[in-house]
């Protein structure tokens, strides 16, 4: 279980990027975090594993306070937090297997890491997980030889190799085509229940959020302004979160005709001046 209380993140003397967030995520649940760019979604996620330092507040994972950890205790805690990235963040020149095994770096010695002599249980677990997501046949291929969807699956397996107690996904599907996105979202959803994990997913695509998650949290300018079931996420909620900032993906897709009319109008004005 992940408990975030009064999380604040401020850079210098600017407006805080995160303004007192409170969030509790139970095991075996998938939470989608939506919001415009700059709303604080990425920052919040990175505060959890301290890739970004929170200014104040508390984050507890299964009772352990994360905000105050340092050095090797921080590293040990990070082992328990798996993260999947928008850009996949793989090591391109290494093989898929090495990328996957890198998830165990927090557990093995430096010698084992450098010589790639991981314990047999790790290797077995790697193969099993890769088979589960369907990439086992690529184990000795270079990571950059895979397609986008396959690479994200490598990223997911790497996170799972850590035997995490929570899974964080920072816009895992933003770089993927619609069909592959669906596959990844389905994967994350089923993993949450198979492994009984709390899963937090930053996502732009509201339609996918509604389909694959059971709870939506909406952020705007660092404040949480929606927390409820997908069914309750109506147009009002959408406007409250995105209104006046930018249109999320599904609004543009749903109304192409309107958008074309708007653009046509703009052109007329500039032509007149000439």
């Amino acid at each position: 279980m992940l408990e975030i209380s009064n999380l604040i993140k401020r850079y210098g003397h600017d407006e805080p990027v995160l303004q007192g967030l409170d969030l509790v995520v139970e095991d075996n649940s998938v939470v989608a975090i939506v919001g415009a760019s700059g709303a604080g979604k990425s920052t919040m996620l990175r505060c959890i594993n301290r890739l970004v330092e929170p200014t104040s507040g508390s984050i507890r994972l299964n009772g352990m306070e994360l905000v105050s950890l340092r050095g090797s205790t921080l590293r040990k805690a990070r082992r328990k937090i798996g993260m999947v990235f928008q850009g996949f963040n793989l090591i391109d020149r290494l093989t898929v297997m090495e990328n996957v095994l890198a998830g165990r770096l927090g557990y093995v010695s430096l010698f084992q890491a450098i010589t790639r002599r991981y314990p047999p249980q790790d290797i077995e677990r790697a193969f099993t997980l890769m088979e589960r997501v369907g990439i086992a046949q690529y184990s000795n291929k270079r990571a950059d030889e895979l397609s986008g969807g396959e690479r994200q699956r490598v990223g997911v397996v790497r996170a799972l190799m850590q035997e995490p107690e929570v899974l964080l996904a920072d816009e895992p599907t933003a770089s993927l085509d619609p069909r592959t996105s669906e596959q990844i979202m389905m994967l994350l959803q089923s993993l949450a229940s198979e492994l009984s994990l709390p899963v937090l997913i930053n996502i732009h695509n509201v339609a996918q959020a509604k389909t694959y998650t059971e709870r939506i949290v909406g952020l705007r300018h660092g404040k949480m302004i929606f927390d409820g079931a997908p069914a309750d996420f109506n147009k009002e909620a959408l406007d409250a979160i995105y209104g006046g900032i930018e249109a999320p993906d599904d609004e543009i897709i749903a109304e192409p005709a309107q958008a074309a009319k708007k653009n046509a109008k703009k052109k007329e004005v500039t032509d007149d001046r000439l």
Binding site: T95, M97, E98, R116, Y118, P120, Q121, I123, E124, A126, F127, S139, N140
Partner: protein, 270 residues
């Protein structure tokens, strides 16, 4: 990779695929490396007796050399001034001469025999360390900055000429064709289609070469081709380590300033 048993008791194994796949080649190379190291170290003549005198000598040298002595500052200044003059003139001559040689050494604008000649000149200019070239010029025209200028001019032609030739080979051919289509002669085409594509970089290259030549002029002086290198050699010869250290500091300072200025100028014109 071995397949697991049905009941999963034997875990699968995996080893990182080695950098060199063929084990014969891999161990062969390793063996060659070890043999080479043993052979090389073994065959090199080390005068251990003289070497063991090294540390006390070093102490004496550094002790004598510190603090650096600027007593003969006027000598230093003259030497440095000469280095600057050598560098300026050699860069000017070298850059100007490198243009025709670069044109000659570019496959796409020069006929084959001319190309071969141009390439040969550039390769020979680059094969010899400037110090060797300096010694030869000193033997031919005597001690002094003339030898230095000739050496660094050749050095510049080799360096700038090669880069220019490569640039000429990579130009947009469409512009050349356009000029030819207007009926322009060979040299007009050169001036209007080729040069505009390569000259912008020429200024940057010249600054870079001026910087290189300034450094090199400090060195060719060691064999008598003028400049601050000669001053340094004299100091070493007289065991005047304090002065030598002062000269060294000035050389380093000049190099740093020159690199900084050259970098700044090149950024401005980019």
């Amino acid at each position: 990779m071995t397949a697991s048993d049905d009941d999963g008791t034997t875990p699968r194994t995996w080893r990182k695929p080695p950098f060199i796949a063929n084990p014969l080649l891999r161990y062969g190379l390793l063996a060659v490396l070890v043999i080479y190291l043993v052979w090389a170290f073994g065959s090199l003549p080390f005068n251990w007796e003289r070497i063991s005198q090294g540390l006390p000598r070093a102490a004496r040298i550094f002790g004598g050399g510190f603090p650096p002595s600027f007593e003969r500052f006027d000598l230093l200044l003259t030497g440095f001034k000469e280095s600057l003059q050598i560098a300026v003139l050699a860069t000017l001559l070298g850059v100007l001469l490198s243009i025709p040689f670069a044109v000659m050494a570019a496959r796409n604008v020069a006929p084959l025999p001319v190309y071969l000649l141009g390439r040969a000149v550039i390769i020979i200019s680059r094969s010899f360390h400037p110090v060797i070239v300096a010694i030869l010029f000193v033997a031919a025209v005597g001690f002094g900055p003339l030898a230095g200028i000739l050496t660094l001019t050749l050095y510049s032609i080799g360096f700038v000429g090669k880069l220019l030739a490569e640039e000429i080979e990579e130009i947009d051919w469409g512009q050349v064709e356009a000029m030819k289509a207007t009926g322009a002669g060979y040299f007009a085409v050169l001036v209007y289609a080729v040069f505009p594509q390569i000259l912008p970089r020429q200024v940057g290259l010249s600054m870079y070469q001026l910087d290189s030549n300034l450094r090199a002029s400090a060195v060719v002086g060691i064999v008598g081709a003028g400049g601050i290198g000669s001053t340094l050699m004299n100091a070493f010869g007289r065991y005047d380590y304090a002065f030598a250290f002062a000269i060294l500091l000035v050389i380093i300072a000049v190099i740093l300033v020159s690199e900084g200025v050259s970098g700044w100028v090149r950024k401005k014109i980019w």
